[in-house]
């Protein structure tokens, strides 16, 4: 019993041991059921059939079979793959009858071996979305030319299986190009067209072209087989351009060379300036060679330098005042002749051009006239004391009537409205008050005729003066006040039938000459007509005062009034105030009191009082000065201190 029990026990143990050993042996032999296969992909080339491929796992050491099962959507029926061989190893091909685009497919692959079966993961498939067409076929590449520049034309056809003609499948194409030897492809999307052009080629290069396609919902096909194309050399077409460029450059070069050659001299001077040699103007080498030194040096002498002749001093001087001096006074003149002032010319004295006088300045002519008048005068003077009295009276009248201004007038231009020259007319002898009046007038007029052109009296004024003939028109202080003043004399001097012009002339002359009159007539009754009708500018003192001297004062007015000593009865221009008025300084050495009262008769005109007794008296005949010249500042007192009224062209402002 125990033996059976022991044997039972041992058999169980043996079984267990055997079982263990068996399992161990099985494991040691490495047999296993197959590994799970994997469906790798399913593809449909034309949307009418499709194929599925799987990847088997390890077979476990035992022969394994694979089976594909599929199930259609909405159906529980499981079908097995109809075709395992058409598509190759581990594939399943579904033909047209089995393919439906309306339903999904649920596909499963089973691997079976001796030890077991293994199912793969199921896959759902929609045929429309797994379409991957074949690559395009019949890809052709040709080289074409476009205006001399080559380009590639690639054309192809769709895969024959894909039904693109009916529109069952719509394909889009893509191609890629690369140069032989390069790594980068150049991609081009061609759309639905079956032809494409490639430009910008490298001449002489070989190109590789490939095409592929894709349906609107699907996968890109494989690249077609590579097409090789060689681009011919077209670089030679660029050679003419280089030839042209070369010719152009050569042409430019030639031109530059020619220009350089033409301007070689000037360029040489620019770059290498010549060294200047010594040169003396006038130096003649030939003379030097001849050895005649005198000629050489004489040639060097410039004729204009140095100046050999001394300049004519007289020419440089400006004659400010030309006063005619009769022969009796010549000696005196010459004594007091001033360098810068007088051009006392008694005949033969030439008139210079820069004396500031106008056409009236024909000194010689006036000299002649003076002489003529003088000659007339002399007999008259000698002849008639009666005339003398008359003249005296006239002279007195003259004096009365603002001849005080006369000297100013003398100094000042007889300006009314226009330009007036007084200086030139000064020289003419005063008219005589006797019968010689006419003659005077004539002489005056004659003399004045020269001045007529220069004196620009407004006729209006003269007419007014004519209107007031015989009247004192002292009220009108118009430009020609002094004219009016003197116009009173006109009736005395001039006969009524005098013409205005002559009156004009006489005006100026009278005015001017009356200055001299005044001096002499200071005594009131010493009308020496033929004397003291002008004033001599004796000199100019340092105070820029023109010292005038009545020339014929020494002729003598044997009158009551004290004789005006010669050389003492003159007006001195003291200065010019800001109103362009000449301030005259009257220096009276001897009594001239006679004039005071008479002067007053003329009213404002003759304010200047020749109050005497004072050695020197400064007179400021305002009225007259009013009418006096509108002396310009710049010429009132010139360098030499005289007043050139001839250039006064403006009216005195009131």
């Amino acid at each position: 019993m125990s033996l059976c029990g022991a044997m039972m026990k041992s058999s169980v143990e043996v079984n267990l041991l055997l079982l263990l050993v068996f399992t161990l042996c099985v494991k040691a032999m490495r047999y296993s059921p197959p590994e799970k296969p994997v469906l790798t992909r399913c593809r449909s080339p034309e949307k009418e059939t499709f194929t599925c491929w799987w990847e088997p796992g390890s077979d476990g050491g035992l022969p394994t079979t694979y089976a594909l099962f599929y199930r259609k959507e909405n159906s529980e029926t499981v079908y097995e793959c109809p075709d395992y061989h058409t598509a190759g190893e581990n594939s399943c091909f579904f033909n047209k009858n089995d393919t439906s685009i309306w339903v999904n497919y649920n596909i499963t692959v089973v691997a079976t071996n001796a030890l077991g079966s293994t199912f793969s993961d199921p896959v759902d498939i929609d045929v429309v979305y797994i379409v991957k067409p074949n690559h395009p076929e019949k890809v052709t590449v040709t080289v074409m030319e476009d205006k001399g520049w080559p380009f590639l034309r690639v054309s192809w056809e769709p895969p024959h299986q894909a039904d693109t003609r009916s529109g069952w499948i719509t394909l889009i194409y893509e191609l890629r190009v690369k140069l032989e030897g390069e790594n980068e492809w150049e991609m081009h999307l061609a759309g639905q067209q079956k032809m494409f052009n490639i430009f910008s080629l490298r001449s002489g290069g070989t190109y590789l072209v490939q095409v592929r396609c894709k349906p609107d919902h699907g996968f890109w096909s494989e690249w077609s087989t590579t097409s090789y194309i060689k681009v011919p050399d077209y670089f030679h077409r660029e050679k003419p351009m280089w030839v042209l460029i070369t010719c152009f450059c050569a042409f430019i070069f030639l031109i530059l060379t020619w220009l350089l050659h033409m301007n070689s001299q000037s360029l040489k001077h620019c770059i290498l300036p010549p060294v200047p040699g010594p040169k003396i103007k006038g130096f003649d080498k030939q003379l030097l060679k001849n050895g005649k030194c005198d000629e050489i040096f004489s040639a060097l002498v410039v004729p204009s330098f140095p100046p050999t002749a001394p300049p004519n001093c007289e020419d440089l001087l400006v004659e400010y005042l030309e006063v005619y001096v009769p022969e009796e006074q010549e000696l005196i003149m010459e004594e007091s002749k001033d360098l810068n002032d007088l051009c006392l010319k008694s005949g033969g004295c030439t008139s210079d051009n820069d004396s500031g006088r106008g056409s009236c300045d024909s000194h010689t002519l006036l000299m002649d006239k003076f002489r003529e008048a003088k000659e007339k005068r002399k007999p008259r003077e000698q002849g008639s004391g009666q005339a003398g009295t008359e003249s005296q009276g006239n002279q007195r009248d003259w004096e009365e009537e603002g001849s005080s201004c006369a000297h100013e007038d003398m100094v000042s231009p007889s300006i009314s409205s226009g330009r007036v020259k007084t200086w030139p007319c000064v020289f003419s002898p005063l008219p005589q008050y006797s019968s010689g009046r006419l003659e005077h007038k004539g002489s005056l007029e004659r003399a004045k005729q020269h001045c007529h052109s220069d004196t620009l009296f407004p006729l209006g004024s003269t007419s007014s003066s004519l209107d007031q003939q015989g009247q004192h028109t002292k009220e009108t202080l118009r430009p020609s006040n002094w004219e009016f003043g003197l116009s009173n004399k006109q009736p005395h001097l001039l006969h009524p039938h005098t013409r205005p012009q002559r009156q004009l002339q006489a005006h100026s002359d009278v005015n001017i000459s009356s200055i001299g009159h005044k001096r002499e007539l200071r005594g009131l009754h010493s009308p020496a007509p033929e004397s003291t009708e002008y004033v001599e500018v004796q000199r100019v003192n340092e105070e820029n005062m023109v010292l005038l001297q009545p020339v014929d004062s020494e002729r003598g007015h044997m009158e009551d009034c004290s004789q005006v000593p010669l050389g003492e009865d003159y007006s001195r221009v003291n200065g010019v105030d800001r109103d362009n008025r000449l301030l005259l300084q009257r220096e009276v050495t001897q009594g001239d009191r006679c004039f005071c009262g008479d002067r007053d008769m003329n009213g404002e005109r003759t304010e200047n009082c020749y109050s005497l007794s004072t050695a020197t008296m400064t007179q400021k005949p305002r009225v007259c000065i009013h009418t006096a010249m509108p002396v310009q500042d710049n010429m009132v007192l010139g360098v030499t201190g005289y007043v050139d009224t001839s250039t006064a062209s403006t009216l005195p402002s009131y």
């Binding site: 159906s75 685009i101 339903v103 999904n104 030890l115 293994t118 199912f119 759902d124």
Partner: protein
Amino acid sequence: MMAVIQRGVWALLLWPYLLTGSLPLDCREDHGSFSRCPSISQEKLLDRVIQHAELIYRVSEESCSLFEEMFVPFPLQLQRNQAGYACITKALPIPSSKNEIQMISDKWLLHSVLMLVQSWIEPLVYLQATLDRYDGAPDMLLNKTKWVSEKLISLEQGVVVLIQKDCGFTATTLSCKLRPASFGP
């Protein structure tokens, strides 16, 4: 005993695979990979049906013109639009105008299409068989005719699937009930 153990092991291994339906819950439409959707959506089906129909129409018109050029004498070609050549399917209750189409339901519309397609399948199959036996028939015409017939059959299948989806899915039977009475002016 070993066999029993092996079967038991095998059963254990295979059991999960047999039982699991492996139906994914989400439906992803991936072009680059397998679709996980168990079924095609209705909109896509409709698009495909429409595309089908358009293609069939185009090809059939081409083949018809080609047929007329080859076989129909010239004087009779101009009578294409006459009444004699009216569509046979007039007997079928098919809506003929746009207004009528808008009045009927989608289901009825689909059924009309299905009937139309089914009615044309038999003639086309017959035509194709005849042309194959015809020696003088050009290949292009034969191909076109064959193509049209095949596509028509496919269209029928598509329409059927569409109707099934519209009406509700049943594995075996059409649950939709046709209601001709609903169609009317």
